[in-house]
């Protein structure tokens, strides 16, 4: 790491920059009173930018830091429904430059129907506001003597960048302005693909690889600023995922030296942003997996692995074109979406498998004479629950967002805002939370009631309703039944049935606009929030206790080891349930202590890929460190952990999430 980078890291960690921020609230209610929703959004964006004072940090070449905690607002503003969690068309904007994009919009505005005029006028207004703000920033950079930033801003965003620095400044500008447009959780998409031409340009012009590594590190440091202003569900959940590797539209591998350089930058910096994702497949060289394992060793919880062999065919099954499927990246956490083309809402809500099981067992167990009858009721319950989550999807209405529409293909062409299905894909996705808890519960019922008759239905129902109070031994018996994660055909087969029921129910629900509903294996925060409302379950879990995070064994499961775990979680045909949601495994930090350990963890990842797993996230964890951090947060300010689809500083998490992470390590490998 160069001295310059070390200094910039210090600047970031000192948090001195936060003192430059001020609070301001600009009320524009009167200005927007008689305006259309499109124009309201555009004017609010302009006002937000007008509130911002350019901040030029010492020695910084990237720019665009927030100066205001709160910006403009108007009466009735609803920031909750502003579109988010999608990947903008960075490539298009970088290739054209904003002036050209603007002139194309003006041309459209001049030849469109009246109906679309409002849209194009609003878009134009936002582009003017963005450019005007960039000009202000440029002049401030000049005044502050920030020579390189000034020079870059003479080129971008008006014109297309030529150098990697210009491209980085432009990209930061795009992200900054989208945040000012209140679009939260804006991931980077396939960063190594759209930035690579500028990297190669600079190499050709005699700039060394080391200098360019330093530049990318500067850029990565710069996106860690202001993360606290975009917290998502909690600090750290800001959606800044970045995808590396994968294939092009013809299916050729495109992992390059620049992709590797991005990994090196992340490895050196050890910061929570950007969150590195890696696309892999059967042919990924083991050396790359070994290098990625060195990243895992840092304990940041990335990279997250995404298996092209499963994800691409899975997306094709959901109606995405093969070309587009090959271009996939992840949204804020793990949801597979298509950059620039997808206005999918991949995280509408979660279908809670344990909730359905608990309800079905309570109301139907008594009348079921066989396990199969019970399972049929569960499948029916899943189908009914799917109708409910779809109703939630339909109730989600986006606010107009003309500035974001610039970055989503199809909108400018059709004159329709992203909020009005202007994008190419407008599908919905659902998490499927608590799959292991659900399968374990049914497997336990099968064993103790139907197969072995150890307990009566009445006894079990009574125990569940009393949250096992006075039923200790019964609970122990349930806990010793087969669990998902140990490669046991019976319980894994039940999980198979549950996932099939979820996929099949959603398959039939395509709507009149061609929108599809995507089943997934993620949990987001539902593994805690939804679990709080679920009563005791027959796997031995007590009322309110959390499920495993995403696609993982339950917390009470004593595991044989990572091999059996991988086998359990790769048995199902994952192309059928491909909204996203990783198998998450905790591996003790000592495993990584030498090259041999690193090599073997990489081979474990390879096994996961070869067996047909869709997504994997490994954590290197030392339980003792976590316990110490609970008691002495002041000693562990830099301790980073993976929470669900994102990494955060352990000491900043809510207590119940800290406890879940510690619990996860009880049976780790």
């Amino acid at each position: 790491m160069t001295e310059r980078i070390q200094k910039q890291l210090q600047n970031l960690k000192s948090e001195e920059y936060k003192s430059r921020r001020s609070d301001v609230t600009l009320d524009i209610t009167d200005d927007v009173a008689d305006k259309t929703p499109l124009m309201k959004s555009a004017l609010l964006f302009r006002a937000n930018l007008a509130c911002e004072d350019p901040i030029i940090l010492p020695d910084d070449r990237i720019g665009f830091y927030r100066s205001k905690m709160v910006g403009a607002t108007y009466e009735g503003e609803n920031s909750i429904n502003v579109p988010k969690n999608i990947i903008p068309d960075y490539e298009m904007m970088l290739t054209k430059g904003m002036d050209q994009v603007r002139s194309e919009v003006v041309e459209k505005a001049n030849s469109c129907d009246d109906e679309q005029k409002d849209f194009y006028d609003s878009v134009c207004l936002t582009l003017d506001a963005a450019l005007e703000f960039a000009d202000r920033y440029r002049e401030s950079a000049k005044k502050a003597g920030s020579e390189e930033l000034y020079k870059a801003l003479c080129q971008v965003p008006h014109k297309a960048p030529e150098t990697l620095l210009e491209a980085c400044v432009f990209l930061k500008f795009i992200i900054f302005t989208l945040h000012c447009n209140r679009n939260a959780q804006i991931p980077f998409g396939r960063f190594d693909q759209y930035m690579r031409p500028y990297y190669e340009h600079d190499l050709k012009h005699g700039i060394s690889r080391e200098e360019l590594l330093e530049l990318i590190e500067e850029f990565f440091i710069s996106v860690n600023y202001d993360g606290d202003l975009y917290p998502g569900m909690q600090q750290g959940d800001n959606g800044q995922s970045l995808m590396l590797g994968g294939c092009d539209k013809e299916g050729n591998n495109v992992f390059s030296d620049f992709s590797k350089l991005c990994m090196e930058a992340s490895l050196e910096l050890k910061l929570i942003d950007p969150k590195i994702n890696l696309r892999v497949d059967k042919n990924t060289p083991i050396e790359l997996l070994e290098f990625a394992t060195v990243m895992t060793k840092q304990g940041l919880g990335f990279p997250q692995y995404n298996n092209d062999d499963i994800v691409i065919p899975g997306l094709v099954k959901l109606g995405y074109s093969l070309e587009d499927a090959r271009d996939y990246a992840v949204a804020a956490c793990w949801e597979f979406i298509i950059p620039a083309k997808g206005m999918d809402i991949p995280n509408v809500t979660a279908l809670s498998f344990p909730k359905i099981i608990a309800r079905t067992v309570e109301s139907k167990l008594n009348e079921c004479n066989s396990f199969e009858e019970l399972l049929n009721f569960v499948e029916k319950g899943i189908n009914e629950e799917c109708d409910k989550v779809i109703a939630v999807a339909y109730s989600r209405k986006w606010e107009m967002s003309p500035y974001l529409s610039v970055y989503i293909r199809g909108c400018i062409e059709s004159g329709k805002d992203v909020a009005e299905r202007g994008a190419v894909y407008n599908n919905f996705g659902f998490h499927g939370t608590g799959i292991a808890t659900a399968a374990d519960s049914l497997a336990a019922i099968k064993e103790v009631i139907y197969d072995k008759g150890i307990y009566t239905k009445e006894e079990l129902l009574e125990a569940l309703s009393l949250n096992f109070e006075g039923y200790n031994e019964l609970r122990n018996r349930l806990l010793s039944c087969p669990k998902m994660g140990n490669n046991i055909p019976g319980v894994d087969g039940i999980a198979d049935r549950l996932m099939d029921a979820f996929s099949n129910a959603l398959k039939e629900k395509e709507d009149i606009y061609g929108r599809r509903f995507r089943p997934g294996t993620g949990s987001a925060m539902y593994y805690i929030s939804s679990a709080e409302k679920v009563p005791a379950t027959a796997d031995g879990r007590k009322a309110g206790e959390p499920f495993g995070s995403s696609f993982s064994p339950s917390l009470e499961c004593r595991l044989n080891g990572p091999l059996s775990c991988i086998k359990s979680f790769t048995k199902h045909d994952m192309t059928e349930i491909i909204n996203g949601g990783p198998l998450t495994m905790e591996i003790h930090s000592s495993t990584f202590r030498n090259d041999e350990g690193i090599k073997k963890v990489a081979q474990l990842v390879k096994a996961f890929i070869d067996l047909g797993g869709h997504q994997l996230q490994l954590n290197s964890i030392n339980r003792d460190t976590l316990l110490d951090a609970l008691d002495h947060p002041e000693r562990h300010k830099n301790l980073i952990v993976r929470v669900w689809g994102w990494s955060g500083y352990f000491v900043e998490l809510e207590r119940k999430y800290q406890e879940h992470i510690i619990k996860r390590t009880e049976f780790m490998f």
Binding site: N476, L479, N560, S564, E596, L604, A607
Partner: protein, 283 residues
């Protein structure tokens, strides 16, 4: 068919031979090394062990226990009544067929990584008939390794070696008196079997635990280096003493009182080996 008691099956054992390995720990050991970190592997009897973490002291398990003098012996009922599932039998009986079926399930992953199965313990050779059956059943399925102290009769060792692909061989102390003092047995058989191992042409690695003041002395390491050099062995793995070694004693109702100073840093003396062109890896 022979049965044997297994006290642990560890998937993804990263330090028990090449590639990803599943290590089977057979219960029972004729040695009593002072620094033993697997006390539950010593006895051939099945014991109930109680994890100390998470115990609320509710007393249910004690109520169901037997007392042998002052010593507490938990019962099957103790296991059933613990609200936090902290008690379990540490051993499980397997026939060689059952065991091979179970560990064979992951052979695809093991083989793809160049790994396989490792039999450890305890001392796996103390249940050599069972071990032999397992090794034969695993032939041509996956790579078979044993991790051993080498303490057994030569005939037994030769027979096992004929069905083994890789050996992790412990040499702790070259001085016989010291060996008796710290492990309870003479090292004569061990040194004899080492010669057999070298002559067999099988792939193997020598391992020495670095116990402060016991095995990490200049004298002992010199002796080991000389032994290796005499046998044209050019590589050794040193395993520094782990201060967590005593961690499991309480849960099996045993006490840990090593006579050496646990606080001292183990000294690898790499130069001693390098002088004899022996490559050292510290694990």
């Amino acid at each position: 068919m022979k049965k044997a008691m297994v006290f642990s099956i560890e998937e993804f054992a990263t330090y028990d031979g090449p590639g990803i390995r599943t290590t089977v720990f057979l219960k029972g050991c004729p040695l009593r090394c002072e620094w033993c970190h697997n006390p539950e592997g010593q006895s051939t009897k099945n014991q109930i062990i109680k994890s100390q973490n998470g115990c609320t002291g509710c007393g249910r398990c004690v109520k169901e226990a037997r007392f042998v003098g002052k010593r507490i012996e938990y019962t099957e009922r103790s296991i059933e009544v613990c609200p936090n599932r902290l008690l379990r039998y540490c051993g499980v009986w397997y026939t060689s067929e059952e065991l091979v079926d179970k560990i064979g399930e992951n052979a695809d992953i093991l083989n793809a990584s160049g790994g396989g199965i490792t039999f450890s313990g305890g001392e796996p050779l103390s249940q050599h008939e069972f071990l032999f059956e397992c090794l034969k059943r695993l032939k041509n399925k996956t790579s078979r390794a044993i991790q051993t102290s080498g303490y057994c009769d030569s005939d037994v060792f030769k027979k096992i070696l004929s069905e083994t692909d890789y050996v992790l061989y412990d040499i702790k102390l070259v001085d016989e008196d010291a060996h008796i003092r710290y492990t309870g047995v003479s090292n004569k058989k061990i040194l004899d079997n080492f010669k057999i191992l070298v002559e067999s042409g099988k792939e193997f690695v020598v391992r020495t635990p670095l116990i402060p003041g016991v095995t990490d002395t200049v004298e002992n390491l010199n002796g080991i280096a000389t032994l290796l050099a005499e046998n044209q062995v050019s590589y050794i793995e040193l395993l520094p003493y782990n201060s967590f070694a005593g961690g499991k004693y309480a849960s099996v109702g045993m006490e840990y009182h090593p006579s050496f100073d646990e606080g001292l840093r183990p000294q690898p003396h790499i130069d001693i080996f390098e002088e004899k062109s022996i490559q050292v890896k510290i694990m």
